[in-house]
């Protein structure tokens, strides 16, 4: 295991992650509402030691009850509408909704209308938009950090 720890140490050094001067807190709950899994891979990658999401004070939380942000990926499928709305309703206020990736933003969605529920905007109030197919880990972190610093989380829905 020491070999691994040494390797991680040197990789981390080479990654040159800059620690932010201001650090706030933001708990994020992710919901895949019909994604192709690329957004999930990039969101997962934000936790690796090249990006280190947690050093910005942002955590991915297991339950929507502990979340400030509902981060939604994918074209919204009909089958995911009920679980998605349940997760939103379980969140404490004030709460934010983030659309991660072009599909969630309703851009270039592919699929059949009979299986898709339409744009996320029509289901929930979207506060943060992170375009990309998929957005890179850097872009995801940047969007979450800037929305956090802009104080969007203060207002109640």
């Amino acid at each position: 295991m020491f070999v691994l720890l040494r390797q991680l140490h040197s990789t981390r050094k080479s990654a040159r992650v800059t620690r932010p001067a201001r650090r706030l807190s933001l708990a994020v709950r992710h919901v895949d509402a019909g994604s192709c899994n690329a957004c999930e891979h990039e969101l997962g990658a934000t936790a690796n030691l090249f990006y280190d999401l947690s050093c910005h004070g942002i955590t991915i939380t297991a339950s929507p009850r502990h979340a400030d942000v509902l981060l939604i990926t994918g074209a919204i499928t009909r089958r995911m509408v009920t679980p998605l709305l349940s997760a939103y309703r379980a969140m404490p206020e004030p709460r934010l909704v983030a659309a991660l990736g072009n599909c969630a933003m309703g851009l270039g969605v592919l699929g059949d209308d009979r299986d898709l529920a339409g744009p996320l905007e029509q289901l929930l109030p979207v506060d943060i938009r992170i375009p990309g197919c998929p957005p890179t880990p850097d872009q995801i972190i940047q969007a979450l950090v800037s929305s956090n610093l802009a104080g969007q989380a203060i207002t109640s829905a």
Partner: protein
């Protein structure tokens, strides 16, 4: 570190993985590969038994005809056009069995009074083959849900893609003292795709697992009907991010068969590099995910960092971290410069050294090996029965790798590494991936040294109304079927390795502890998106 409780399970990979066929200027000799065999409903089962007997490997079953959602339109209620096709691979040759489903009313009449439940006279019927070919169970359920085809003999016919509120319709009744159900999902605690698992447990022991996936069903295949081939490519790419190259490549190969085209040496080399790069970052990801499944953080972080390095390299080389937009019909879109390939080979060498070192730390760590050994066993017979593919099948002793017979790709005489100790547990699936990483890295090093420019596909035949592409994705054999007149798509069907392996995950989970499910699940690391489509 610590005492060695397990020995390396996998033979060293063949370090000279290929003969340089394309260097000599001759790509694999082109030949048509798909044969469509029309049979009658009455010889359907017999034909399947014969195909299995003669060594065919089942690669999917699908319906062609009006689907259920057009039911409101009276014009679509006549199902005279519903046909079922079943795909078998014999090495690099593909045989498609095709039979018209018989109107249900006719069957009912022949049965002299025995009515088929739930039929309204508009359904179609074909005898089920699940008793002789259990691997076709999901395929039949899908055809039943989406195309209203009845398969007498498939009892009970549980919904697969249709989501019913009636729990009894899709779960197996498990009763007895102390049994109860644990429902998980569709939203999970981590950053995971959506899917619902219903565990039947006693205490912490899982007796049975019922899966309910298809929350991400976007109707991609239906959206492709009537669309031009290039739109089909965009749709298939959207099916799954982590298998984007494999899926689009299978689609492209099917299209090229429809158009009567064959890739030249440079094109097949380009594509082989792309699909191996996909395997590289996926296998690194999957080994890291298994470490996460047992809470071995140093392993998780080390392999996550290696995956990131691989994806950064891919981003520089292919312009996209998931290689979106790099696979096209009949042309290449991946031509890095000499300098870029040189830099890539150096980086791959460094990734190879670090991943080998990290893997040794995982392999010889006693506590890790204790946690992964004899957990989530998929025995050889079950893997055969469920038609498992890919690393999961190989870890259970099925030496099946589409790469050894992919004439449209540049694998030469590749001998994939074969596990010495195919115990079918999490440890074996982990070890198979580690060995395949070495092969993939060696392949990439050899292929990136080649000339990748001026890639194209040339005409060899007049084309065919049906094309079938089979590609070894990081998760196993993925099949894509395209039925087309050469310009628009009449039917598109994608049967990915994940779709083939999901039933095996449920089987391998039974008998294990409920908290071990994430580990068992990660050891297969299947996609929901490309199953759900």
């Amino acid at each position: 570190m610590g005492l060695m409780t397990s020995r390396p399970r996998v033979t060293p990979p063949n370090m000279v993985p290929r003969t340089p066929a394309s260097e000599a200027g001759t790509a694999s000799s082109p030949r048509p590969s798909t044969t469509l065999v029309q049979i009658t409903a009455s010889s359907w089962r017999e034909a399947h038994a014969a195909a299995i007997h003669s060594g065919g490997r089942f690669a999917g079953l699908y319906a062609v005809g009006p689907d259920d959602t057009t039911g409101n339109n009276p014009a679509n209620r006549d199902r005279t056009g519903t046909t079922i096709r079943s795909v078998f691979a014999f090495g690099d040759q593909v045989k498609v069995l095709s039979a018209r489903a018989v109107p249900t009313q006719a069957v009912e009449m022949r049965r002299a009074g025995t009515s088929v439940a739930g039929t309204s006279g508009i359904g179609r019927t074909l005898p089920s083959i699940v008793d002789i070919l259990p691997a076709a169970a999901w395929d039949e359920r899908e055809a039943h849900d989406l195309y209203e085809v009845d398969f007498p003999g498939h009892v009970p016919m549980r919904p697969l893609i249709s989501h019913s509120d009636d729990l009894g319709s899709w779960t197996v009744p498990v009763v007895g003292a102390g049994t109860h159900q644990v429902a998980v999902g569709p939203i999970h605690a981590g950053v995971i795709e959506s899917g619902h698992f219903r565990f039947h447990v006693v205490g912490e022991r899982v007796l049975h697992l019922d899966l309910r996936l298809f929350y991400n069903h976007r109707g991609l295949e239906r959206a492709a009907v009537g669309a031009p081939l290039d739109t089909g490519l965009a749709i298939i790419q959207r099916a799954c991010g982590a298998c984007a190259v494999s899926n689009t490549l299978a689609f492209t190969q099917a299209c090229e068969e429809v158009l009567g085209l064959w890739p030249d040496a440079a094109l097949s080399t380009q594509r082989t590099i792309l699909v191996e790069l996909e395997r590289l970052y996926n296998h690194l990801n999957d080994i890291g995910a298994m470490c996460a499944g047992i809470g071995f953080a140093p392993g998780t972080m080390a392999f996550a960092a290696l995956k990131e390095r691989a994806q950064r390299l891919i981003g520089r080389l292919a312009g996209h971290r998931f290689m979106f937009g790099t696979v096209h019909i009949a042309k290449g879109a991946f031509s890095p410069t000499r300098g870029e390939t040189r830099e890539a080979r150096l980086e791959l060498l460094s990734i190879k050294e670090q991943s080998a070192r990290s893997w040794r730390e995982v392999l010889f760590n006693t506590s890790v090996q204790n946690r992964v050994t004899a957990v989530g066993i998929l025995d050889h017979a079950s893997a055969e029965r469920f038609g498992a593919v890919g690393p999961a099948a190989r870890a259970s002793g099925i030496p099946l790798d589409t790469r050894s017979h992919s004439p449209r790709l540049d694998y030469g005489e590749l001998q994939p590494p074969s596990p010495v100790d195919p115990t079918g547990d999490v440890a074996a699936r982990m070890a198979v991936r580690a060995a395949e990483l070495e092969t993939t890295l060696a392949l990439l090093d050899a292929l990136l040294a080649r000339d990748l420019h001026d890639a194209a596909a040339g005409a060899i035949t007049e084309g065919s109304p049906i094309g079938v592409g089979v590609v070894e994705s990081p998760r196993g054999a993925t099949t894509c079927i395209v039925e087309s007149d050469g310009t628009t798509i009449q039917r598109l069907h994608l049967r990915t390795a994940s779709y083939a392996n999901w039933p095996a995950v449920a089987h391998a989970t039974a008998g294990n502890l409920l908290p071990d499910f994430p580990l068992v699940n990660k050891s297969f690391e299947l996609c929901y998106a490309c199953s759900d489509r």
